[in-house]
């Protein structure tokens, strides 16, 4: 460009010197080219009305303009200088400008006035093979530079720039203040608005690359950089590094995020990928860290909607595209699920993981709750080797019992975490458990043994038999598996076998009326989808053995209600209605659930129905059910009404 101007100046000067303009002068140039620059079809006319030049096509650093016209009403050229005052460059838009070129000093000074109050002042000069250029901006709109950005980069869309950028063979320095800057990529997924701040940058060439330093302060404004959203400023990065054929590197940097804290960072990006990365931060505010950085990654998982309090440290080293060190600490941290599913307080955690080393961390917390069940404090060492994690046997206080976890081991394989553990529950009072869960008051105790629970990244499977003691009987859960437990549609499969449940404890719990005796229950092929039953074969029947068997009139009525209209007619039309307790020999009811319909049966067939309670002793009662097919939702509704006591015994 300078060479072109120089030649043009000399040409003009030679043509007109030494006198002032006496007549019009016109000439044409077919083509002219230089480094990063080419132009063709140039014509120039200089007369009493000033200078009027046209270029058919001009290309500068890959960008092309056609039919560009420069009009200079006040034009002066002599051997010393060429100057244009109150000129206008006319291309797609009109750009008012002035410039002067001093031939001896090889210096160009130009002032561009794209809009009222907006000035781009450009100075460039060359002396003894050294060149320098400087751009001063006053109220400059950065959107004018958008066309110079690569297509897939975010581009400036508006705002104001003040400051100076200087270039020379020795390097580049810039000091820019931004006001109300807006930028966006084509899809709007990397965008900012109303940004204010300051950018100080310098770079010097060294051995085929540029060494840079930068101080970027983002004081105000919002940025969305999917998946992150920073609603306000307060961010700052100060650092140094290099940029060249090996990519962009940060050798030392300090990043400050408002509401989170500061971190020392370093890293290298090469061919669009992060190859090395190092971060060290202490005293991070976990609330800010969670909301700004972590939450966008958690989507709808169990940790997606938390209130977090506490502080933490992190040291993370990622080299050659793999994590080598990950050392995290949490201090006096509380995590509270906003949906009230769980909370955990007083978490103190240290996990110092280093590749190829055996590491030992520690986990402690003061207590919390899971749904409405409170649990107590625990402190355990955490052993780590590679992607294997092991915990010693744990014993967590839960109400008046304990939950034990034995032999917990987790391993990351193929990008998925797998884990296994055994354990159990030492007796927890059902009275306390039911009160904590807001259930009807239950009696007895809950205890159980879990031989091994195994998660393979897809499903949780219980190997062996899960044994629960409740209602003075035993419940055995076999073939238990849970598919996609954290997915949109978790599915549970199991077989249940319950023996010798005390009906007195059970019926007292649910205000069902009173039944004395014991029952066995089996539920085979149980399948829950989204925690709702879709399929099972269930049967409840009196346990074998010798024990008192009594049923109250209210219980008879309630059982009748479950069986639907027609059941329980026996009591209503007989003298037995005057009695409160009856004897029975067997109770039994079964339901085969398929496609939302329960096919019911009893202990034996009866004319047009089935026997639910078979009489025995004196006075005896027999209850017969006549509805064989009941919708599952209808059955649940009936059960709910019975438990809520909405069904009153009707004695005729």
């Amino acid at each position: 460009m300078k060479a072109f101007l120089l030649r043009l100046a000399l040409l003009l000067a030679a043509a007109v010197a030494p006198a002032a303009v006496a007549a019009d002068l016109s000439f044409s140039i077919g083509a002219i080219a230089g480094a990063g620059f080419a132009a063709r079809d140039l014509t120039l006319h200089w007369g009493e009305r000033g200078m009027d030049g046209e270029v058919g096509e001009i290309r500068i650093f890959g960008k092309t303009w056609r039919n560009v016209r420069l009009v200079c009403p006040v034009f002066h050229a002599d051997l010393a200088a060429i100057s244009c005052d109150r000129g206008e460059l006319q291309a797609a838009d009109k750009l008012p400008l002035s410039f002067t070129y001093w031939a001896a000093r090889h210096r160009l000074e130009a002032r561009l006035f794209p809009a009222s109050g907006e000035t781009w002042r450009i100075g460039a000069s060359q002396a003894d093979n050294a060149w320098e250029a400087k751009v001063d901006l006053a109220n400059a709109n950065p959107a004018r530079l958008a066309g110079w950005f690569p297509v897939d980069w975010p581009r400036p869309a508006g705002g104001r720039l003040e400051g100076t950028v200087s270039f020379s063979a020795a390097g580049l320095t810039g000091d820019l203040r931004l006001r109300a800057l807006a930028f966006s990529d084509a899809a709007g997924l990397r965008a900012g608005d109303k940004l204010s701040g300051r950018l100080l940058v310098s770079a010097v060439p060294r051995g085929g690359e540029w060494r840079w330093t930068a101080d970027v302060g983002w004081r105000e404004g919002a940025v969305f950089w999917r998946p992150f959203y920073f609603p306000s400023g307060g961010q700052r990065f100060v650092g140094q590094g290099s940029i060249g054929p090996d990519g962009l590197s940060v050798t030392h940097g300090k990043l400050e995020l408002a509401g989170v804290g500061s971190a020392r960072v370093a890293g290298r990006w090469h061919k669009g990928a992060l190859t090395d990365f190092e971060l060290a931060a202490t005293g991070l505010d976990l609330d800010g860290l969670y909301r700004l950085i972590l939450k966008p990654w958690l989507e709808k998982g169990a940790l997606a909607n938390l209130d977090v309090r506490g502080s933490g440290d992190l040291r993370w080293r990622y080299r050659d595209e793999a994590t080598r060190v990950f050392d995290v600490a949490l201090r006096e941290t509380s995590l509270k699920d906003r949906d009230r599913r769980f909370a955990i307080d007083g978490v103190n955690l240290r996990l110092p993981w280093e590749e190829g080393q055996e590491n030992e961390g520690k986990l402690a917390f003061g207590g919390g709750h899971f749904f409405d069940i409170p649990f107590g404090a625990i402190q355990v060492p955490v052993k780590m080797k590679g992607w294997q994690v092991a915990l010693p046997d744990l014993s967590l206080p839960v109400l008046d019992g304990r939950l034990t976890v034995n032999g917990f081991q987790a391993e990351r394989r193929g990008g998925m975490w797998n884990w296994r553990f055994g354990g159990g529950v030492t007796p927890i009072s059902m009275e306390r458990l039911s009160a904590a869960l807001g259930w009807p008051k239950m009696f007895g105790s809950l205890s159980g043994v879990l031989p091994a629970a195994i998660y393979d990244g897809h499903q949780v499977r219980v190997d062996g038999v899960l044994l629960v003691r409740a209602f003075d009987g035993t419940a055995v859960v076999k073939n238990l598996s849970l598919v996609e437990p954290l997915g949109r549609a978790p599915r549970l499969y199991a077989d249940l076998d319950m023996r010798g449940l005390d009906l007195d404890l059970l019926t007292r719990t649910f205000s069902f009326g009173s039944i004395t005796g014991r029952v066995d229950a089996t539920v085979s092929g149980l399948e829950l989808s989204n925690w709702q039953p879709v399929k099972f074969d269930a049967r409840v029947a009196s346990s074998p053995g010798d024990y008192p068997r009594q049923i109250s009139q209210r219980a008879v009525q309630n059982i009748s209600s479950l069986g639907g209209a027609g059941a329980g007619a026996a009591i209503q039309r007989s003298f037995l209605r005057f009695l409160d307790q009856f004897g029975y020999s067997r109770i039994g009811l079964s339901c085969v659930l398929r496609n939302g319909v329960c096919t019911m049966d009893g202990v034996e067939a009866a004319p047009h129905g089935y026997v639910i309670v078979k009489g025995g002793g004196i006075p005896a009662i027999t209850v017969i059910g006549y509805n064989r097919y009941v919708g599952w939702d209808e059955l649940l509704g009936r059960l709910e009404r019975v438990i809520q006591g909405n069904v009153k015994p009707i004695v005729e």
Partner: protein
């Protein structure tokens, strides 16, 4: 508008007669499918203005995509982006559950293809959808 919501959120479930997947019952209901349909219905309440503006469009493979985030106010882009991701997880689960409830988990792709076609057929005028070659078209 309720009619429109039902049309969008549940409409494609009522198409067995013209389904290219005549063998599968696309209206099949299980508690899981019911829950997913309810979630999709709820999402639609929040997403319909973005579908109408063209910020969000229907992809050729039965999902949603943020087509032009610049049409969404900056402070809402993260939420809309998350909602689209959430909705897509539900769509994915819907296709899988319908195939599974039909006793043929391997039909998932066919179920998805059928739904994709029907979502686009039932899209409102002005909504954007994607062609298999990736190009976006306004209905």
């Amino acid at each position: 508008m309720n009619r429109l919501i039902r049309l969008f959120a549940a409409g494609a479930l009522a198409l067995a007669s013209t389904s290219v997947l005549a063998a599968a019952d696309l209206q099949i209901n299980t508690p899981a499918i019911q829950q997913i349909r309810q979630d999709l219905h709820n999402h639609f309440h929040d997403l319909r203005e973005y579908l109408a503006s063209g910020a969000v469009g229907l992809t050729w493979d039965g999902m949603l995509a943020v087509r032009d985030a610049s049409l969404i106010p900056l402070d809402q882009r993260q939420a809309v982006s998350a909602l689209v991701a959430d909705d897509n997880q539900d769509r994915h689960a819907l296709y899988r559950e319908i195939a599974r409830a039909n006793g043929h988990p391997e039909w998932e792709q066919e179920v998805r293809d059928t739904f994709a076609q029907r979502w686009i057929e039932r899209a409102r005028p002005g909504w954007w959808y994607q062609k298999p070659n990736g190009a976006w078209v306004q209905k």
